[in-house]
C-alpha cells in the first residue's frame, strides 16, 4: 500500500526514531519508563524532582531558550516538564508520540552543557534529568539514527567512526611518514610500554582530521615528551554511548581505554582537544566503572599545552598576530576548570585575546555537544537556529576586533563552524594545536 508522498516525507526524517517509535507498545513504554525511574534512579533523581519549586530561574541559562526568544518550551525546566514530569504524572502511561517528542527534546534540544545547573538556586542537575530521559529512549530503542550508528560503531570496533583494526596503526604510520618529511627523526611511538604518557584521540581524527595527529606528533616530539599510542583498541577516548544513555556500552569503552593505558604502564593519559571525551573519561565513564576519579590521571590538551609552555619545553618563535577570541567548552571548563589554563595558553601563543561575553563557566554552549551534532543532518538547522545567541556573542567579539576563534573541543569546533557560516560571522576557527604548531620553534622552521 503506497502512502502519500507527503506523509512519507514527514516521517522518514529520522529512521531510528520513527521506526523505533512504531515498534513500541503501551505496555513496553510503561514498563521501561517505570523500570528506569523506579529501579535505576535513586534518591538524587527523586530529590531533584521534588525539590524543584517551578520558579523558572534556570531558563536564561539555556542557549535554546535565549535563541528562541524566550520560548518557555526550551527552558531547562520546560524540557523537564515535557519529559520527566509527564512520565511521572502519568506513571509511564504515555504514548509513542510522546516518546518521539521526548527523544527530540532530550537529544536535539539539550546539549547537557550543565549551564542551567549554575543558574538553579538549588543546584538541581537538570542535565542529569535529561540523561535519564535519554536512558529511557535508549531502552525503548528510539535513539536518533545517526548517533545510534556511532554507538554501534563503538560496540563493534571500540571507536566512534567504524575505524577498522588495521586502519588505526596504518593512519598513525602514514602521519608519522608525513611528519618525517618535516622532522626526519620524528616517531609516533606505538605500544611503548612504560612511556610516561599515552596520547589518546577521538576517532574522527584518524578518520578525517589526520593532520591533527601530525600536529600532535610534532608537538610531542619537539617538547621531548616520552609518549606512546596504543596499536590496539582502547585508543579512542570518544563516547557516544554516554550520550545515548547506553551506560553499559560506555562502561565497556572506558574499561578498554583505561586497561589499554594500564597495559602500556603509562603514568598519565594525555588527550586531544576534545570536550565530550574528557567528560567520558573524567566525569561519567570512570564513575560508571566505580572510580571516584580517573584511575589513571587524565590530562586534557589545554592543560598539557599549558604544562609544556610553562616548563619551556616548547618555545614560541613568533606569536600568532591576528586577534583571537576564546570559546570555553562546557566539558573542560564547567566540567574540568581549564579556563584559566586556556587563557594562559592563549596569551603564550597569541598577541591579542579578545574575550567574548559571557565567558569562562558562563560561556554559551556551542549547541553541538552532548551528542546533538551526532544526531546528524535531520537536526542541523534546529541546532543552528537553537544557537542564535552564540552568533550574537561571536559577532560582539568580532566587533571588538577578534578575527580567529579558538575552540579547544571537537564538537564545539564543528558546531561553531556551522554557526559561523550560517550567520555569516566571519571568524576563522582553530584549535590550540593548530596555532601552537604554527607558532612554535621547529628545527627547520
Amino acid at each position: 500500500m503506497a502512502e502519500p508522498a507527503e506523509e512519507k516525507e514527514k516521517k522518514g526524517l529520522d529512521i531510528g526514531l520513527e521506526k523505533g517509535v512504531s515498534k513500541l507498545t503501551p505496555e513496553k513504554i510503561e514498563q521501561t519508563i517505570n523500570d528506569v525511574l523506579d529501579k535505576e534512579c535513586g534518591p538524587r533523581f527523586k530529590t531533584y524532582v521534588e525539590t524543584c519549586i517551578h520558579c523558572g530561574l534556570c531558563s536564561e541559562a539555556c542557549h535554546y531558550y535565549l535563541s528562541h526568544d524566550n520560548d518557555p518550551r526550551f527552558s531547562p525546566v520546560g524540557k523537564v516538564k515535557q519529559t520527566i514530569w509527564e512520565m511521572l504524572r502519568k506513571k509511564g502511561k504515555v504514548n509513542g508520540e510522546f516518546i518521539k517528542r521526548a527523544a527530540e527534546i532530550t537529544h536535539t534540544e539539550c546539549n547537557l552543557c550543565k549551564r542551567c545547573a549554575m543558574y538553579c538556586p538549588f543546584g538541581i542537575d537538570i542535565a542529569y534529568l535529561m540523561t535519564v530521559v535519554r536512558r529511557i529512549i535508549h531502552k525503548l530503542g528510539c535513539t536518533p539514527q545517526y548517533i545510534q550508528d556511532t554507538a554501534h560503531s563503538h560496540s563493534v570496533h571500540y571507536n566512534q567512526m567504524w575505524v577498522k583494526g588495521d586502519e588505526w596503526p596504518d593512519t598513525l604510520q602514514w602521519q608519522e611518514e608525513e611528519a618525517q618529511a618535516e622532522i626526519p627523526t620524528l616517531r609516533i611511538p606505538l605500544e611503548k610500554e612504560g612511556a610516561e604518557i599515552m596520547y589518546s584521540v577521538i576517532a574522527p581524527e584518524p578518520k578525517f582530521q589526520a593532520q591533527l595527529i601530525y600536529q600532535a606528533a610534532v608537538i610531542m616530539d619537539q617538547a621531548g615528551v616520552d609518549w606512546t599510542m596504543p596499536a590496539t583498541v582502547g585508543w579512542d577516548n570518544s563516547d557516544m554511548a554516554m550520550f545515548t544513555g547506553d551506560s553499559e556500552l560506555m562502561g565497556r569503552l572506558k574499561r578498554a581505554h583505561f586497561e589499554t593505558a594500564a597495559r602500556l604502564k603509562v603514568k598519565r593519559i594525555v588527550m586531544g582537544e576534545c570536550g565530550h571525551a574528557f567528560r567520558s573519561v573524567y566525569d561519567m565513564g570512570n564513575r560508571w566503572l566505580g572510580w571516584q576519579m580517573p584511575p589513571i590521571p587524565i590530562v586534557h590538551a589545554i592543560e598539557f599545552y599549558a604544562e609544556i609552555l610553562r616548563a619551556g619545553k616548547i618555545k614560541v618563535a613568533k606569536k600568532f598576530s591576528r586577534p583571537v577570541t576564546l570559546h570555553d567548552p562546557c566539558n573542560v571548563v564547567r566540567g574540568g576548570g581549564l579556563h584559566e589554563d586556556a587563557r594562559y595558553v592563549t596569551r603564550q601563543l597569541c598577541e591579542t585575546l579578545v574575550e567574548m561575553h559571557p565567558n569562562r563557566e558562563h560561556n554559551y554552549c556551542c549547541c553541538a555537544g552532548g551528542g546533538v551534532i551526532n544526531c546528524g543532518p535531520p537536526y542541523k538547522m534546529k541546532r543552528i537556529e537553537g544557537n542564535r545567541v552564540k552568533a550574537e556573542q561571536l559577532f560582539a567579539a568580532k566587533a571588538r576586533g577578534a578575527e580567529v576563534l579558538i575552540t579547544p573541543c571537537h564538537n564545539c569546533h564543528s558546531g561553531l563552524h556551522d554557526i559561523v557560516h550560517h550567520y555569516g560571522v566571519g571568524l576563522e576557527i582553530k584549535f590550540f594545536g593548530d596555532i601552537l604548531y604554527e607558532v612554535m620553534e621547529k628545527p627547520e622552521g
Binding site: G42, P43, R44, K46, T47, Y48, E50, T51, C52, I53, H54, C55, G56, L57, S59, E60, A61, Y65, N70, D71, P72, R73, S75, V77, G78, V80, K81, A117, M118, Y119, P121, F122, G123, I124, D125, Y282, D283, R287, Q292, M293, V333, R334, G335, G336, G337, L338, H339, P358, E361, H362
Partner: protein, 219 residues
C-alpha cells in the same frame, strides 16, 4: 468556640509540630539511607568546604550571576524567606503563648514592625502569584499544586494579619489563623515546601561536584 479553641491550640498544635518534626526527620533519614544504599558515591564527593562555598554564594543576595540577573526577584525572594521565619518566631503573641505554656520566652518584635513584615510577606506572595501568571517561562511549568503551596504559605500571614487587626469576624479569623499555620507546618515535609530541607543538600552536592571535580564556580 471554647472547644474549637482548645482543640486547635491544644492537641492540634502537638499534632502539627509532631508531624512537622517527625516528617522532616523521616524525609531526611529516608534520603540519607537511600543515598547510602543506592547512590553511596554521592557521599564520597560531598565536601564541607565546597558545599559551604556554594551555599555561601547562593544565600547572599546578588552574590551569584543569576541573582544579579533578576534584581527584583532576588530582593523579593530574600525578603520573603527572611520574614517567613522572622515573623512567626519573633511574634509577641506567639512568644506569649509559649511563655504561658512553658515559661520560655525570648525577645519579640514590636507588633507594629511585625505587622509591616506580615504585609511584606503577603506582598511577596502576591508578587510570586503575579509572576507565575504573567511570566511565560514560569507559567509554562506551573501546576495547580504550585498555587496550592503558595496559598498554604500565604494563608497564615493573611489570616494572622486580619486577626491581629480584628477585621472580619474576629474569633473565626483567629481559629482560621491557627489552623492555617498548622496546615503549613504539616505540609512542609510532604510538599515541594520540603525544599526547606533539601535545597541545602542539592546545593551542597552541586557545590561539591563543582569545587572538587569540576574545579569551577557554580554561581
Amino acid at each position: 468556640m471554647h472547644s474549637v479553641y482548645s482543640f486547635v491550640t491544644g492537641p492540634m498544635v502537638w499534632v502539627a509540630f509532631g508531624v512537622f518534626v517527625a516528617g522532616c526527620l523521616f524525609r531526611l533519614v529516608v534520603l540519607l539511607s537511600q543515598v547510602s544504599r543506592k547512590e553511596p558515591f554521592i557521599f564520597s564527593y560531598m565536601n564541607l568546604k565546597w558545599s559551604l562555598r556554594s551555599i555561601g554564594h547562593w544565600i547572599v543576595p546578588f552574590a551569584t550571576v543569576n541573582w544579579r540577573r533578576h534584581p527584583v526577584l532576588t530582593v523579593v525572594t530574600f525578603v520573603f524567606h527572611i520574614c517567613l521565619f522572622l515573623v512567626p518566631i519573633f511574634l509577641l503573641s506567639h512568644i506569649v503563648l509559649v511563655d504561658e505554656a512553658w515559661s520560655i520566652s525570648w525577645a519579640a518584635l514590636p507588633d507594629g514592625l511585625a505587622d509591616a513584615l506580615t504585609l511584606t510577606v503577603i506582598a511577596c506572595c502576591l508578587f510570586f502569584l503575579v509572576r507565575r501568571i504573567r511570566s511565560p517561562e514560569v507559567k509554562f511549568v506551573t501546576y495547580p499544586s504550585d498555587y496550592v503551596i503558595l496559598a498554604i504559605v500565604a494563608a497564615p500571614f493573611v489570616t494572622g494579619f486580619l486577626a491581629y487587626h480584628q477585621w472580619f469576624g474576629y474569633p473565626v479569623m483567629f481559629i482560621l489563623h491557627v489552623i492555617a499555620g498548622e496546615i503549613m507546618l504539616i505540609a512542609i515535609p510532604f510538599t515541594r515546601l520540603s525544599h526547606m530541607l533539601f535545597a541545602v543538600f542539592t546545593r551542597a552536592y552541586m557545590g561539591s561536584e563543582f569545587g572538587g571535580v569540576r574545579k569551577a564556580k557554580d554561581w
